[in-house]
Amino acid sequence: MENDTPLGTEKKFIVRLVGLKPGASRETLVQALQRLFKGKTAEEIGKALERLPLVLSRSVTEDKARQIKLFLEAQGAILKITYSASAIIAPPKERPRPEIAPAKQMPQAGESAPAGVERRAKPRVHTGIQVKPMGVGEILDRSFRLLRHYFWLFFIIIFIPQAVFFVVNLGLQFFVSGGIRQDVSGSMLAGFGISGVLAFILFLVVQFWAQGALIHAVSETYLGHSTSIKASYGAMRNRLGRLIGTMILWSILVFGIPALFAIGAAVAVPSLAMMGLGGLFTGIIVVVVVILAIWIFTTLFLNWILADKVVVLEEIGWMKALRRSKELMKGRTEPGFWKSIKTKASLIILVGIIIGIGIHFLFQLPGVLLGIVFPAGILITTIQGILNSASASLATVYAAIAMILFYYDIRVRKEGFDLKMMAEKL
């Protein structure tokens, strides 16, 4: 406690919950807080815990503050208790502002802070966690450690959409192949078609939801907080629409613009041939268009690769999220080609793909062998489907974690948010 006050005086204290101790369980703390705030539901408290620091009380006696501190610290909370300049006795005094007149560094005309410096959600970092700039190797290794430590949390989050897809797919297959009814009419087939489209839309929604939940879960655990599958999915509820919209926009632009070039080339080549400009000239045009389309795709993909993290962690969406991602990805933080931001991102993706292929191979192999040894049937299809779903989840989760850590690394390097946090405690 920062001030010792004799008992019985009117001096009051403010009790703030500033974080969770390493390894502390969020659920236990929510239960403990429910005992203190009887009118609040677990969900309300859980939501409040996402916005730390949390003021638990603005005016308690020293005794009460001490009791709260002892009780909540035993449940894994980190509390900060400060002396409240007794609001009952006198109105709070305004703190004298220091006279600061830096000569050279007043904001210049035309020079402004990057858009949204204040707007951006400030990451809450656990005091016991070290956040610092990392190299590509460190990002990859840290991702591996995170995955190993929180394997079931991340795996189940990403496995849920695969499981939904698998169950729906299996059900449709079973129905269409005559597992339930043999006489499938035309109208029923149309019904299956509509059901299939609806199932695909459902899968997409759940897939984006899981993507957002994974970003939330990795971010929380990386910054030293504990989270759960339910909390991660729950945190995405009011951001889901924005995430889906942004990711659809992302897909249209990243895949659509290069596709337009390809369509243009497909139309232009026969026209040129009809005009008698065949052979070498047409070949050169095709090569140039293909190179241009690949270049545009790569540039857009790398520029906007952090858009989903921005939507989830900074709570901005659509074009703003794409612009913010581009802002983070542009420029360089270190000298040298291999240390440029886009090269680092490419290397992380490449390593992720290689590890993903390895995992895919390992999980697909038993399914393929089963298919060779045993005759096709519902059991073999089910086993193969489960293995496919598991391999698809495992293959993507590592690269996804690495990219989230990469996002934080850029913010540490370009915005120094670790230093900002430490500066506040200076």
Binding site: P107, Y398, L426
Partner: protein, 264 residues
Amino acid sequence: METTKDRLTIQTPEQVGFEYVLAGLGSRTAAFLVDTVIRWFFVFAIVVIVALSLRFLPALNLSGWVADLSKTWLIALAVLAYSLVDLGYFLFFEALWSGQTPGKRRQGLRVIRMNGQPIGWVESSIRNILRAVDLLAGFYPVGIVVVFLSHNNQRIGDYAAGTVVIVERKQSVPGDRKQFLAPRVLTHPEIEWYVSRLKPAQYQVLRSFLERRDQMEQGHRHELARLLSHQVFKKMSKSTRINISYESFIEEIIALYEKRRRAI
């Protein structure tokens, strides 16, 4: 809470502990990628040499054993050369470069024995012959799972050879760790008082800002310099009028602190 680094501690008979940071799956894969590119270059060179030999050797009218080299023999030699590159690349480099290959050197990794000693030909041979098991179809499916489950991030080859892959300590001093010269006349008389009470952790924050400021975006750099300076002013809690920039003010504090530390 997840630990920041996986570590291996080796205890000597004198009860002295040496701590090594273990390399994870990601950095090892990145090193493997670099090595694969180099190996492909060697393989490409072999293919080019064989193709050129098949094309031009008969036209040279050579005598002796060279003239007897048939097409089949040349291809057999090429396959042998490829096998040597494929297996020998890792085996020779790790044995001759004390546990490093060009890829590992690039990533700052090294293979050592479990007791901390450098690996020799035997360890290098065992771990690289068993690479075939880990590698299985080129994408390390077995290796990935074994490393994931291993306490010391070891693959099957590492277990058999009794080796681990560690991250080397960086010995060099950061290039941007320049010295700041303390001014003859202080911009603020309270600075000296503040510096005398500055704790190492606080100094580290200010120093880190000066070291990393060039990487930061202008807006955030100014914002952070302002924030840090304000925190210092708050501590000094007196008149805080200064006529230099925030960054110069922080440089002054660091210069004074380092001057005092050198004097001590």
